[in-house]
């Protein structure tokens, strides 16, 4: 576990003396008031009697109304587990989730349902998140009935939801079954279902990764538009850091269950500090790169082999030590905590001075 010498209250005790000093201030805070907050979330999965998987380690983040926070990482980095804990589907091993200033308690059914009225989760795969035997109208009328009380006119509300996600004419889409819709249309239904509860927080788990590239942008635009109009606090989980650049205020990069870097989206993507973030960005397709090793004739043996993914995360020390070009003995022995670089940026690396010289000197100055 990382040792936060500056903040001894972070792991065990939640709020005792007012605000626990955050490592950095999120840029999303400028968008609106704090809605949902995770403090020191941990999740362990017991694989066998002797093996435990630390899926999530000491993750803290804050979601603000009208702001978008992106959680970026590869599959298995624990980003979905964080979202499921925030959604109340999974119970954290330790740490707490705080909604509107109060720790979230999901012990009773009514408390769970009340929480679901505020915090909704959008599934990744629109092909399996809709029940093939029910039509669109059914998928939307259930949450309307459950969350908006008996007084509302359900059918009118369903039509309004369909129009909100731009499935128009709504009357035409209401009786359709999932198999009659395209992937993009299904994901719109998924969005509408989440919105039916009239939540203030939306957790979108890779909402566009199963869709065609040409459709993705439209869906992200829709999500962004909904965020603006309904003033939603949005957690956008993705493996595509490029979309996070365009779509979010703050980016948190996860590796092996830990946040290794966080900061304003544009800063993190244009000037990555952590070696893993640098690897992620170097790996994204770059149409402008004429000297790319992927281009015929440019193949220089081994040039592309930065941190080949044959080795998994290291069990002790910095998890990225097995793939990091800057690794030394300290990295292999001790796991670095998030260190503040500027007021709104932090990275967990022992060698920021070598990994990102420009940033490190800036931090000193």
């Amino acid at each position: 576990m990382s040792e936060e010498t500056s903040d001894p209250t972070a792991v065990a005790e939640p709020v005792v003396t007012g605000e626990p000093a955050p490592v950095v201030q999120s840029v999303a805070a400028a968008r609106g008031p704090l809605a949902l907050e995770a403090i020191g979330l941990n999740k362990d999965f017991r694989l066998s009697r002797t093996q435990t998987l630390h899926a999530v380690q000491d993750v803290s983040l804050s979601l603000y109304k009208g702001g978008v926070v992106a959680l970026v990482g590869e599959s298995g980095s624990g980003k979905s587990t964080v979202a499921r804990m925030l959604a109340g589907q999974e119970r954290p091993t330790s740490g707490s989730v705080i909604f509107n200033g109060k720790p979230v308690d999901l012990k009773s059914r009514s408390a769970f349902r009340a929480y679901k009225s505020e915090v909704q989760y959008v599934f990744q795969d629109p092909f399996s998140s809709l029940n093939p035997v029910h039509d669109v109208g059914y998928h939307l009328s259930r949450p309307v009935r459950l969350h908006q009380g008996r007084s509302v006119e359900v059918q009118r509300e369903v039509m309004a939801l369909l129009e909100q996600v731009r499935l128009t004419p709504a009357a035409q889409f209401k009786p359709k079954y999932p198999h009659e819709l395209s992937g993009g249309q299904r994901q719109r239904v998924s969005f509408a279902r989440a919105l039916a509860a009239q939540p203030s927080v939306l957790l979108a788990d890779e909402p566009v990764s199963m869709l065609d590239v040409s459709i993705r942008l439209e869906m992200l635009n829709l999500l962004d538009d909904l965020r603006k109009r309904l003033s939603l606090a949005l957690l956008y989980i993705t493996h595509d850091i490029a979309s996070a650049r365009y779509f979010s205020d703050e980016v948190l990069v996860m590796y092996a269950g830990q946040v290794v870097e966080r900061g304003p989206a544009e800063d993190v993507t244009q000037q990555p500090a952590h070696p893993y973030t640098q690897l992620l960005i170097a790996s994204a397709p770059d149409p402008d790169n004429l000297g790319s090793v992927l281009r015929s004739g440019n193949v220089a043996a081994g040039a592309a082999r930065i941190g080949r993914a044959t080795s998994g995360p290291a069990p002790v020390g910095c998890p990225f030590a097995t793939r990091c070009p800057f690794v030394d003995d300290k990295c292999r022995a001790e796991n670095p905590a998030l260190q503040r670089i500027t007021a709104d940026r932090a990275a967990a690396c022992w060698h920021l001075d070598r990994a990102a010289p420009a940033l490190a000197t800036g931090a000193i100055a």
Binding site: S75, R216, L217, D224, A242, Y246, I281, V299
Partner: protein, 348 residues
């Protein structure tokens, strides 16, 4: 490159799915050639017929698919004859010999096709013995060499598929495809299910192997940004028809077809300044529609009444300096894309 005869030449190929309510034209009158050592990218949305085209050319489609016309000419160095072999008219024996040995395919989500109860090595051995009829020792040696080639350490030979990561399994499938030194490798979204870091690693590997072994690649994907970096030439497909074809540099600098222009405005970029993103509004086409003219009309911002009478043949792009840069749209030119008024995109 273009002076020599292409290794694989698809001429006027049409594929349909027979349904009780009539034929669904999944690919119509497609012309595409693949030269030696070349990477051709085939780009399109799901349902655009890109997989159908590739599988149809190898006659791997299952009923109710039927090839309604065209030729697929294969002229590899091993065919021996002076004239090219037409795969659509080849006898069963030749067809079986060509597939996998001369034209290999890495299927979409192929990594899940591995048998979970057999060791990786045994599966490659099996396939090799079945198709190449190699003696046991020779096949063993070849398997080890292949896995070296795709960067899988020898100690992983004895693993079961579930012990390997997704990237590793995909490497195994690529090794299997390369087992018989094919001249053409068709890759259908080989990296879609993988993380970006692994994706890049595998793509670099493929290109490296291609340079080393000299095969040609037909790379099918919906991700235009990937093709721009990877492919020598790009073919853009929509509703079963080719919309535009050209060198990737030409496609990037001077996209002629509105659909291609839309694709280029669809992906956010990490590098360089933030661009204006609009995507392509609307939904993918329904192939059951048999409206005449261009299938892109409902989603096209430049659509004019004349579009309904376009005959969808590929003509050289006006004003493009690229040789072989052709488009199906006689109305829109690359210049028209540049003067268009920027609309509001994501967070712009």
């Amino acid at each position: 490159m273009s002076s020599s005869r292409p290794v694989l030449e698809i001429r006027d190929l049409s594929v349909a799915y027979r349904t009780p309510s009539g034929d669904v034209k999944a690919a119509s009158h497609v012309n595409l050639s693949l030269h030696k050592g070349e990477v051709v990218g085939l780009c399109g949305e799901s349902g655009s017929g890109k997989s159908t085209l590739a599988y149809g050319a190898c006659r791997l489609l299952r009923p109710p698919a039927v090839i309604t016309g065209g030729q697929v000419l294969y002229s590899g160095s091993r065919t021996g004859t002076a004239t090219a072999l037409d795969i659509l008219r080849a006898p069963q024996r030749d067809l079986r010999a060509i597939r996998w040995r001369d034209v290999a395919i890495v299927f979409q989500s192929a990594m899940n096709a591995l048998n979970p109860v057999l060791r990786v090595r045994d599966q490659i051995l099996d396939a090799m013995q079945a198709h190449l009829r190699l003696p046991r020792e020779e096949a063993h040696e070849k398997t080890a060499k292949l896995l070296d080639l795709v960067g899988i350490p020898r100690e992983r030979l004895r693993s079961y598929p579930h012990e390997l990561s997704g990237g590793m399994r995909q490497r195994v499938m690529i090794a299997m495809a390369l087992a018989a030194d094919p001249e053409v490798v068709i890759m259908d979204e080989p990296t879609t299910a993988l993380d970006v870091v692994v994706q890049r690693d595998i793509l670099a590997q493929i290109v490296e192997l291609k340079e080393q072994l000299g095969f040609s690649v037909l790379f099918i994907t919906h991700d235009m940004s990937l093709l721009l970096e990877l492919a020598d030439r790009i073919a853009v497909m929509y509703a079963g028809q080719l919309m535009e074809l050209g060198d990737s540099a030409d496609i990037k600098v001077a996209p002629a077809h509105p659909y291609t222009q839309g694709l280029l405005r669809s992906f956010p970029s990490l590098h360089g300044a933030r661009r204006d993103l609009t995507g392509i509004p609307g939904s993918p086409p329904d192939l059951r529609d048999t409206n005449p003219g261009c299938p892109f009309i409902p989603r096209c911002e430049f659509a004019v009444p004349a579009c309904a009478e376009v005959d969808m043949t590929l003509a050289p792009v006006a004003g493009s300096r690229g040789i072989g840069h052709v488009t199906a749209c006689p109305i829109v030119t690359p210049e028209m894309a540049k003067v268009r008024v920027p609309t509001e995109g994501v967070r712009s």
